[in-house]
């Protein structure tokens, strides 16, 4: 092969190699699902409490991972359920949060998360009843938690009876078996605060923390607190 031919071959192989690397990196960095931000800063007059309605469904029912457990949130503008886990909230505002929990439960891996922390009064309302500690080794256990570690918030989401006919895919109707958990907390200054579930609910992954526990828009996200 001539020198020119060799040179051409080397350049072509180099470009192919670079292309493969770029493709791999781009594929790796691509998020598992398209994600958005649900904006609650304009859902009420400034200074008034924000009402945030979310639900946890045992299987999302659509998208690339229809069998995965997931949070959903009610968009305050369109009043439609969306699979966003980044919620834009106003700073220095009371957040009244309601979570409809449609998934079954089990004992917590760490019962520490059975204690309600960081909410106003360090308590929650479970189907209208005030609870400050929930023993996950009793009753129907805990299905998931809503926790914002950097704000010290941790709320156990008590599971429903697994032997009932449960909601098959989100969004779920409140006619299906569920627990309604309500609590309030105050946002502080602006910042980006990650939140997550502390129940290793990624079934099938080592220690249960893969899959939906390690993919944005399923069991974790951000509270994007901004000045309104």
């Amino acid at each position: 092969m001539s020198m020119r031919g060799r040179l051409t071959t080397v350049v072509v192989l180099f470009l192919v190699g670079v292309g493969v690397v770029v493709l791999c990196v781009a594929t790796f960095l691509k998020p598992g699902t398209p994600g958005g931000v649900t904006d609650f800063t304009k859902s009420q007059p400034a200074g008034q409490p924000v009402h945030l309605l979310a639900q946890v469904v045992g299987s999302i029912g659509f998208g690339p991972h229809p069998t995965w457990v997931s949070y959903m949130v009610m968009n305050p503008t369109t009043h439609k359920w969306v699979q966003d886990t980044t919620w834009k909230l106003p700073a220095h505002t009371k957040i009244d949060m309601t979570i409809e929990q449609f998934d079954s439960g089990s004992p917590l891996r760490n019962q520490e998360w059975g204690q309600i922390q960081g909410t106003i009064g360090n308590s929650m309302q479970l189907n209208g009843k005030t609870v400050s500690v929930y023993n996950s080794f009793t009753g129907t256990g805990v299905g998931h938690t809503f926790a914002v570690p950097t704000l010290g918030i941790s709320v156990p989401l008590v599971g429903v009876n697994g032997s009932d006919t449960l909601c098959g895919e989100g969004p779920c109707s409140t006619k299906m078996p569920h627990n309604e958990i309500t609590f309030s907390f105050n946002t502080k200054g602006p910042g980006n605060f990650p939140w997550q579930c502390f129940v290793p609910c990624g079934l099938g992954w080592l220690f249960g923390n893969g899959g939906p526990m390690s993919t944005q828009n399923f069991m974790g996200g951000f509270l994007d607190v901004v000045n309104s």
């Binding site: 917590l108 891996r109 760490n110 520490e112 129940v199 609910c201 992954w205 220690f207 390690s214 993919t215």
Partner: protein
């Protein structure tokens, strides 16, 4: 008679003067501000060790720089009257210089290895995790650890006892148990001043690493293993705790802040937290060095899992409660 000046003596004098100035300036000006500070005995020892190493290393570095600078200045080919460097006799190596360099650097390295070993032992592991059976324990650590397992542990400002603190890592948060106060668990890490602390670090899932930077403490958190690290707190202050083992999606968010407070303030906090958490503490698993994992996902049972003992058979440090 050779008119050539005594270059080696010149270089030695220059090196000596610069080295003394650099060492003195470093020791008194920079040294007190070097990481990780002086919040604990291990942090203070880390700082001392670093400064000591720097004071030893600076003259070595300066020797090289002086030799290089002097050579460029004195034997540069571009200077008038200086012959071009040539091979032959003038280019031969100097046996004495080579041997001296090897001997001196070897002595320095061996001395520092000895120094590091002594520092590691005298400071009870220098804040590093020593595994489940530490060989460099402070006085009273074994009895405190034994008491922790037998639920007979106690601590008060005047007791002078080692305070046992269990660090439990999980994806993606550290929590802390205080066996001397009923075994309550909390997300806050508070420590009393002037107290020996025995951190018992474990994990409920993957490998994490407990890194309390300003305390000079760093210990891997492994599932099914108790990793013990010691330190002695000295003065009040705040510190940061970070996970230093890449552990998944929220690894970057796995941090929190701790405080070293006065003994009385700690006692007040501990007793208040013990009372506030009492309802949940009774539901926690019995205090143990490790907790049985359930690797398959959501079901709990990480703590008491049927008939499985929560104690790892590998855990030998401290006595186990009788079954």
């Amino acid at each position: 008679m050779n008119d050539e000046p005594r270059h080696l003596r010149r270089m030695t004098i220059i090196w000596l003067i610069i080295s003394v100035i650099a060492d003195v300036l470093f020791w008194f000006l920079l040294g007190p501000h070097m990481a990780p500070g002086r919040l604990t005995s291990t942090a203070k020892a880390d700082q001392f060790d670093f400064n000591f190493l720097a004071v030893i290393a600076l003259p070595v570095m300066i020797a090289i720089w002086v030799f290089m600078g002097y050579s460029i200045r004195t034997w540069s080919a571009k200077r008038a009257g200086v012959p071009e460097p040539v091979g032959g006799e003038a280019a031969r190596s100097h046996k004495g210089a080579i041997v001296s360099w090897m001997v001196i650097t070897t002595v320095i390295v061996l001395f520092l290895a000895g120094f590091g070993t002594v520092a590691l032992i005298s400071d009870h592991g220098s804040g590093g995790g020593e595994g489940p059976n530490p060989i460099w324990s402070p006085t009273g650590a074994t009895s405190a650890e034994t008491a922790a397992l037998t639920t007979s542990d106690s601590w008060s400002p005047s007791s002078g006892k080692v305070l046992v603190v269990q660090v439990i890592a999980q994806q993606w948060k550290f929590t802390y148990r205080y066996p001397a106060f009923g075994g309550f668990e909390t997300t806050q890490l508070m420590l009393p001043t002037d107290t020996s602390i025995a951190f018992n670090v474990t994990s409920l899932d993957v490998i994490h690493s407990f890194w309390a930077y300003q305390l000079g403490v760093k210990a891997d958190a492994n599932p099914m293993l108790n990793n013990v690290a010691f330190t002695d707190t000295q003065q009040p202050g705040s510190f940061v705790v970070r996970c230093s083992e890449l552990c998944g999606l929220w690894h970057g968010a796995m941090f929190d802040y701790g405080k070293v407070v006065s003994k009385t303030a700690f006692m007040t906090w501990a007793t208040n937290t013990e009372t506030a958490n009492a309802a949940n503490t009774k539901d926690l698993a019995p205090f143990a060095w490790t907790y049985v994992p359930d690797a398959n996902g959501a079901s709990g049972g990480y703590y008491i899992d049927g008939g499985v003992t929560p104690y790892s058979k590998a855990e030998l440090y401290g006595a186990k409660p009788s079954s």
